[in-house]
């Protein structure tokens, strides 16, 4: 037979990562992957990742899910970016938008022209030249029209949703696509005597589940990749010292709903505020070396803008990743693979990325080492690039009001980040790469938003006559304002489009 035998895939863990993996493999590899997921209802899911990135839309599209149905089921709102408050210095804020600032002129990035005008002292803040930022501030939203103009293609969007509602939705989808599910806790792991690979999982219900490929979605416990295989962990806490979060939902206020997530810097970390349809998610991400759990819970209770809907829950984690996310015949996806704090809403994206790579490199029953090596190289690169981008948020600060901020401001950063910052500081240029999450516009947003103004800019930006340049910037500013003024209110649009779940 030419057609290869289906690979028996066993997924351990039914949280967001587990069911995302099951749904994608079932949809994209019918007949090629025979999928069995084991989970225990007694084990809660972390459900971190209420805010997402635009890439999630592609995941939903590839699965063939209806966007509005997805939004209703997860009580989702739209997201155009993240509002960073007090990061560069107390009292300063900026939005990291899903989109660009202005448009290139004669092949030169817009921010170079803006830097030129700023040096001449005649330009409004750069955020005025970003459609998604202006729309965020106005709490408006509109979908991206097909065949639109340059402004329509200057933004993207994601969702803010109730992560605990995503897994059940994907479970229904996956089971409808042939995924088998077993209830039970894993109490034993059988290894192949010759190869040392994992051969089967045994559960507390006396079930033995054999497989060719095991996907460890057991979260921080990392039962397979960590406990069974002992795959090493690379610790990044010297750069990303936050290791806990005190999470707390509260009631949603009346009035407009922000189409963005807010991240507010705190004395020992930062706190998130994520507006959903039915509530607001809050959490204080902090460094336990600088703040006690009780202090963190007190701080988040004091900071919320609504009635608390539960007691604060403390989550523990550490920044880093496995040196090999795919080891032997075990692929770790989600928190078992690594963790980066949710400052840029990357948790679900990292799951999605790993699932996509696994589909691309899906093995045969006998695993080829080159598939594994390629997967690990791609996952590592993604993690490493996000890591540098997150560290920048802490390091690029003038804050000196707490031990925490003094530490991150003065710490040595990875060489890969230092090089990027040096290039920016001297020339206003961003190190080029094309694969990865955060490309030029994102780096520009954080650099400028946190007060890292380069000493120079692309000299080609000096070419247009000052008055002509000022005029085109004014026109762009006006075009953005007019466009946003014509957009509906975000909350109104959610209802209008059928994304709203009637409570």
């Amino acid at each position: 037979m030419i057609r290869p035998e289906p690979v028996r895939v066993v997924i351990l863990g039914g949280g967001t990562a587990g069911w995302m993996t099951a749904a994608a493999l079932a949809k994209l590899l019918p007949g090629q992957a025979d999928i069995h997921l084991v989970e225990s209802e007694e084990i809660g899911i972390v459900g971190v990742g209420e805010a997402t990135l635009p890439h999630l839309r592609e995941f939903i599209r590839r699965l063939g899910l209806d966007e509005m149905d997805f939004m209703r089921k997860t009580r989702a709102t739209f997201k155009l970016g993240i509002d960073f408050v007090d990061f560069g210095a107390i009292g300063e804020r900026y939005i990291h938008p899903f989109g660009a600032y202005g448009t290139d002129i004669a092949g030169v990035g817009f921010h170079h022209y803006w830097l030129r005008m700023k040096a001449a002292g005649r330009v409004p803040p750069i955020c005025d030249f970003s459609l998604p930022i202006v729309a965020s501030r106005a709490r408006r939203f509109a979908p991206i029209p097909a065949g639109g103009d340059f402004l329509d293609s200057s933004y993207s969007y994601a969702y803010q949703f109730d992560a605990t509602r995503m897994a059940p939705m994907l479970r229904a989808f996956a089971e409808a696509h042939g995924v088998r599910r077993s209830e039970g806790k894993v109490v034993g792991v059988d290894r192949d005597g010759t190869s040392g690979d994992i051969a089967a999982l045994r559960t507390d219900r006396d079930e033995t589940i054999a497989g060719d490929l095991f996907v460890d979605c057991s979260g921080f416990r990392a039962l397979l990749i960590g406990e069974a295989l002992g795959s090493p962990w690379e610790d990044w806490s010297q750069w990303l010292p936050c290791d806990r979060a005190a999470a707390l939902p509260c009631t949603a206020p009346d009035g407009p709903i922000e189409p963005y997530t807010r991240a507010t810097a705190m004395p020992a970390g930062w706190r998130w505020r994520i507006p959903l349809q039915h509530r607001v998610g809050n959490g204080y991400v902090y460094s336990s070396a600088h703040l006690s759990d009780d202090e963190a819970c007190g701080a988040i209770l004091g900071a919320i803008e609504g009635e608390p809907l539960a007691d604060p829950r403390v989550l523990r984690f550490r920044a880093g990743r496995r040196t090999k996310s795919w080891d032997r015949n075990v692929v770790a996806i989600g928190l078992a693979s690594g963790f980066l704090e949710p400052l840029e809403s990357t948790s679900i994206h990292l799951v999605q990325q790993a699932v996509t790579r696994l589909v691309e490199l899906f093995p045969q029953r006998r695993i080829d080492a080159s598939d594994r090596d390629t997967f690990n190289a791609l996952v590592d690169r993604e993690y490493d690039r996000i890591r540098d981008f997150l560290i920048l948020h802490y390091h690029a600060t003038r804050r000196d009001d707490s031990d925490f901020w003094n530490h991150v401001r003065t710490m040595a950063v990875p060489e890969t980040l230092q090089r990027k910052m040096d290039l920016w500081r001297t020339s206003g240029r961003v190190e080029l790469y094309t694969q990865g999450l955060f490309l030029e516009a994102s780096w520009v947003a954080v650099y400028l938003g946190q007060g890292v103004v380069p000493i120079s800019y692309d000299q080609r930006a000096d070419t247009p006559a000052p008055d002509r340049l000022a005029k085109s910037l004014t026109e762009l500013d006006q075009a953005i304002r007019q466009r946003v003024a014509a957009w509906p209110d975000h909350g109104d649009y959610l209802r209008q489009a059928g994304a709203w779940e009637a409570a």
């Binding site: 030419i2 090629q32 691309e360 080029l432 094309t434 120079s456």
Partner: protein
């Protein structure tokens, strides 16, 4: 913004071949306030780029950037857009190659895996992979292809006219000597006399270049990986429009296009392939064959040189900058040159070991049809795919996503290529 005071007021380009002229024009456009001067040197017989009228599709983007009308280019240089290559190798059936920039996907599955699955299931009755790509080209009206083949002397003449119209000052000299000072060029002396100085020196002098070596840049030799070939050109073009034919004979290649014929022959005395260790030192940057040399039997050699110019302009530093742009330039150039070496190995000596990077690319492709190239490679993934399908060993595995496709999708995808079948 103190650094903003430093402005490049003068540029000196050494070498008036196509790369030097193209660079001078592009710099003139980018820096309308700067004086751009070109030093004309006697012709260099070792240069391929000044004799081989072939470019990859990047030339279209380059022409847009410098404002050269594509119709004028085509008319003046008798350009023929190549989109189908025929390879003839000793004792093997002819193989066709067509090309796209990106790897085509159907329903999320790479096109070549659909084709590979069909070939396994239906045997030899399938159209060749080139037919699949040609069908796409017809459906999309894709310019794509391999880039133009043209009369290089006419192109050089056209660029020369453009340079003159743009007030680029051209000084003809027999030779220049470099005076270095503290890791930078202090000036060039022309014919032992006149002193030429500039804020930025662009070394486009081709294989004989020594501007960067005068500053201490080392040369990495690739002779162990790539063949030493000499190039001879004859004007007797032939064959159908858009077609070219490459015959591999005795370690060399005869390459016939509608515009000219080229013979690439093994030659131990030919200047060997390799690249500079650093391409930008202080105020001097080497581009084109001054920075990298590898034999190619297509337009990628000139394509990579034009990418050098675009990269140089994108990263143009201020004279008083801290050298960060130069480092970024070198990082990107090194990636481009490694890609060129791998590509050269694949195309001029298929089957040989070639550079280490090519071995990795070849292994990844042979294993499961993955095109594992650097994200900043100037040679696009679709171009790699087409060449690997034409010259490399075919993948051993069909991707599982292709096996997962419904039969009807595979059938309709293959059927789209059937009308484009052309007897070879």
């Amino acid at each position: 913004m103190s650094g903003a005071a430093g402005v490049t007021r003068s540029v000196l380009v050494v070498g008036d071949g196509v790369v030097g002229l193209a660079a001078a024009i592009a710099l003139r456009r980018a820096l309308p306030g700067a004086a751009v001067r070109l030093v004309q040197l006697p012709g260099d017989e070792d240069s391929w780029l000044n004799r081989l009228g072939a470019a990859s599709p990047i030339i279209h983007r380059f022409h847009r950037q410098i404002g050269l009308d594509p119709r004028l280019f085509a008319r003046r240089t008798n350009a023929d857009p190549a989109y189908l290559r025929h390879y003839v190798r000793d004792g093997q059936p002819a193989v066709r190659e067509a090309s796209t920039a990106a790897i085509p996907f159907v329903e999320g599955v790479p096109l070549h895996h659909i084709w590979l699955r069909h070939r396994l299931e239906d045997g030899e009755g399938a159209p060749d992979f080139a037919a699949m790509l040609l069908a796409l080209r017809e459906a999309r009206g894709d310019e794509g292809g391999f880039g133009p083949r043209f009369d290089i002397a006419a192109y050089q003449g056209l660029l020369g006219e453009m340079a003159a119209a743009l007030d680029i000052d051209i000084a003809a000299v027999a030779d220049v000597t470099v005076t270095a000072d503290n890791g930078a060029v202090a000036g060039l002396s022309a014919d032992g006399g006149a002193w030429l100085r500039a804020d930025l020196y662009v070394d486009a002098a081709g294989p004989r270049s020594r501007l960067l070596t005068a500053l201490g840049a080392g040369w990495t030799d690739w002779s162990d990986w790539l063949p030493k070939l000499s190039l001879s050109m004859s004007p007797d073009g032939g064959g159908a429009q858009g077609d070219e034919r490459l015959a591999y004979e005795g370690g060399g290649i005869v390459w016939q296009t509608p515009v000219w014929r080229a013979a690439l022959a093994p030659d131990a005395t030919a200047r060997g392939p390799g690249c500079l260790g650093r391409c930008w030192l202080g105020n001097a940057v080497a581009i084109g064959e001054a920075a990298v040399r590898a034999p190619t039997a297509d337009g990628v050699g000139l394509g990579v040189a034009l990418e050098d110019i675009l990269r140089l302009i994108a990263l143009l530093p201020r004279p008083d900058g801290g050298g960060q742009e130069q480092r970024e330039y070198d990082r990107r150039a090194a990636i481009a040159y490694r890609a060129l070496a791998d590509w050269s190995g694949l195309s001029t000596a298929p089957g040989a070991d070639g550079p280490p990077g090519l071995a990795e690319i070849g292994a990844a492709f042979a294993a499961r049809g993955r095109v594992a190239i650097d994200e900043l490679s100037p040679i696009q993934p679709g171009e790699w795919l087409a060449r690997l399908m034409a010259l490399g060993p075919p993948p051993r595995r069909v991707d599982p996503t292709a096996w997962a496709l419904p039969d009807a999708v595979v059938r309709s995808t293959i059927a789209r290529a059937a009308p484009a079948r052309v007897p070879t």
